[in-house]
Subunit: 470 residues, 2 copies
């Protein structure tokens, strides 16, 4: 099947500018809407719910008074009323079923915590569309603040409707952008969640809170660690990429690269590939976005004769018989595009190398009708000055480029950082595996330890109404 480079170009340019060069999208990777896999349903008695139509589309203004249905998944077979808890996944940019399927940690500890598992879908993703199939042309209400308000209302709704949960303590759990949401949820709604596990959550990857280059530095480090020559091969490739004919030949492209734009797109696609491989450098075969072998960076090293072999690792799933199907792997990396995550202007991240903001602002405005507000996230969520908060675990993978924007040192006794040197992007949230490095096993034990501590100390006897007769 031939794919047009035309479609690819548009997506590619937009995606590349946003995701890579200009970093509009900070974290995570998303997927096309999925159906909840039937094996998940059978394995875990996971049930799918939609909230009643009581979720305000706009929590912060009153002119838009319409409501929408939020989707959430519940597994309650381990729930015990008196000793139980609610482990609440703060859904991020994608179909919630996919996150439920990729957050094995919660399933693994459900029994230990006598827990109800709840996976809440982020508005504008999956089946939680405020304006149905017209949602992507009404993006005004896509923001982390609105999403957190949804979670707060959903938890109130659950407590009002599931008998025996009125006073059950809730712990927020999330990875990547979902990890930011978990941390921010505890910061802004400590009356609703007693603590948060924020895995691979680069809450400081905003404005000028961390040095611009920290992200790419870690990508480069990952490839360096995999052995001599690998990082250099990639570095040398950037010059070679300018030679159109060589490129089309080496990559056996379906359509030869012709214009300068084609080359830019191709380069950005490659850059995305390296980032992706570094992010998902898991110790076993995984299909975080694309099916990949264990330790893909190392595998790459052992197989690589040039950049082609490495990138083909990522694109093999969509490999045509006669050539690399450039379109599809790129689209699979840019699946977030139809999901308008990148239209959240507060997610404008610093550019590397630093670039004038005005052209970027113009570009955003053209594409989405909105302009970036780079300082809003630190102003609203506190930047590096978050020590007044409590009960948040920030876990980070040493191999994960996003750890550069994460909290990697303890801030207080109750705002703690966990480093997982052999960990990729929120490896700790994945299911236990015999291939797990010791560091991630230790991290999970520590996470459970802190979560139990919160439950012991902070079991909230009363809801928003306070104690009786207060």
């Amino acid at each position: 099947m031939k794919r047009k480079t035309k479609g690819f170009s548009w997506f590619g340019l937009l995606w590349a500018n946003r995701m890579l060069n200009l970093h509009l999208v900070p974290v995570g990777w998303t997927r096309r809407p999925l159906k909840v896999p039937s094996n998940l349903l059978i394995l875990y008695s996971l049930r799918v719910f939609f909230s009643p139509m009581l979720f305000q589309i706009d929590h912060f203004g009153f002119a838009e008074d319409r409501t929408f249905k939020q989707r959430y998944l519940i597994a309650d077979q381990h729930w015990k009323k008196d000793t139980g808890s609610i482990l609440f996944y703060t859904g991020n940019e994608g179909d919630i079923a996919w996150f439920a399927n990729n957050t094995g940690f919660m399933w693994n500890v459900a029994e230990e915590f006598d827990a109800i598992l709840v996976f809440a879908e982020h508005r504008y993703y999956g089946d939680s569309l405020p304006f149905g199939n017209k949602s992507y042309t009404h993006l005004n209400y896509l923001s982390s603040q609105q999403a957190l308000a949804d979670f707060a209302v959903l938890i109130q709704h659950l407590k009002n409707t599931i008998p025996g949960t009125e006073n059950t303590p809730v712990i927020a759990i999330g990875g990547s952008y979902g990890g930011m949401l978990a941390a921010w949820f505890r910061m802004k709604y400590p009356h609703i969640v007693i603590g948060a596990l924020a895995a691979s959550a680069p809450i400081w990857q905003f404005d000028s809170l961390v040095p611009c280059g920290s992200f790419y530095k870690i990508v480069t480090e990952d490839f360096k660690k995999s052995g001599a020559g690998c990082s250099e091969t990639i570095q040398n490739s950037w010059a070679a990429i300018k030679r159109l004919q060589w490129l089309s030949h080496t990559f056996r492209l379906c359509s030869p690269l012709k214009t300068k734009t084609d080359v830019i797109n191709f380069r950005e696609w490659l850059r995305g590939t390296w980032i992706y491989v570094a992010m998902v450098d898991y110790p076993y075969e995984a299909a975080f976005l694309q099916p990949l072998p264990a330790w893909p960076v190392k595998v790459t090293k052992s197989k690589v004769t040039g950049i082609r072999a490495l990138s083909s690792l990522v694109s093999h799933a969509t490999h045509d018989e006669d050539g690399v199907g450039l379109g599809l792997p790129l689209n699979s990396l840019s699946l977030l595009l139809p999901l308008p995550y990148s239209a959240q202007p507060d997610f404008a991240l610093p550019q590397f190398p630093p670039q004038p903001t005005e052209p970027f602002s113009q570009e955003c405005f053209k594409a989405w009708g909105v302009r970036p507000r780079p300082s809003w996230i630190p102003t609203f969520y506190g930047g590096k000055n978050i020590s007044a908060h409590s009960n948040i675990i920030f876990s980070n993978g040493g191999l994960d480029p996003w750890s550069g924007g994460g909290v990697t040192k303890n801030i207080t006794d109750t705002l703690v950082a966990i480093m997982i040197p052999e960990g990729a992007h929120h490896l700790d949230l994945r299911s236990n595996s015999p291939f797990d490095p010791t560091s991630v096993l230790q991290a999970r034990l520590l996470e459970v330890h802190y979560m139990k501590l919160w439950l012991q100390k902070g079991r909230q006897p009363f809801g928003l109404q306070g104690p009786p007769n207060s």
Copy 2:
């Protein structure tokens, strides 16, 4: 000067339904826009500023990208860089000059705290109008959340532009609705203010957090305290009010009451009068809204021969030669009407006696195009479950009806309540006076004590960027 009861009726009905019977407006009293009084400027070197046009009209959505100018007042003659602080008044529903003039406490302690005083105007009031003179037809961005975001951005702006203030700790101070804002500001932006003094802030006067009748119970108590007969006279009056002719005669009304609606309006006007007198039962002559003598409830008692004398106390400023100018006193109580405070749907308070919500919702929608969301404030700000926060003083006047919705007992070591038995509505925020009861003097001392404690313990060495090289 004759006033039409027609105009009065409309304002009266709306105001009565909102302020009194249905409680849409929870706290405080407001004034028509004022110019900053020149004596204030001379006395205190108060300077008037407007923020640059960098304040987003909508902090929580991105489609409305316009900005507006916020007004704020600064007095910095006592400011000392190394030991200083910023005392920040979180402006509520009215012209900020008026609050600066009625918050003598801040002026009294400025030198002791080496402080810069800042009085920030609430959006949609005074000269801080997001859409200029069309603001009241664009009310979508009038909410406490937007106002708090304005304050956060303003403080960032001040720290960026006033040399030496980068690391100066900020304490939020406010009374009534402004007190709620001060408390909520600390809860939601602890990275921006190290603590808050929330005076007479009924943060629990929402949903079903406190018993419905607590407010009127305190009003009644106030009149009972003033001596035998006073409370009973008022109670008996409600039946008498049904007699139109008697009313028109007794009150020497400019236009006789004719319809049932006239009577309802009149009754609500009277009810407002009692509430107002109870709220502002200050120990000295004051002009919180209307010029009143010291201890107006007691004065009323000594003069009262019926309800007329009492109510005429409030209306005397606008007393016509030949009759009570019903229109003006009511208008002066309903001054908040042209200032669309009551259009904040999250401020829908419980009704007493409880009434079906749907007609109320319909009425709000007709008047303002918005519907009440009674549970949103507790969900967003935590209801009675606020123990995770810190460094907030809740002060309450024992004579103040709003203390029924306030925090009157310590919650933790750092969330403390101060009761002022002889205090009316945020008496503690007013200037020191020889007539002050001991309880308010003690309260002010205690407030200063806690504020100093926060400064000693919590002096933030770094801003949002954190320590150098972190």
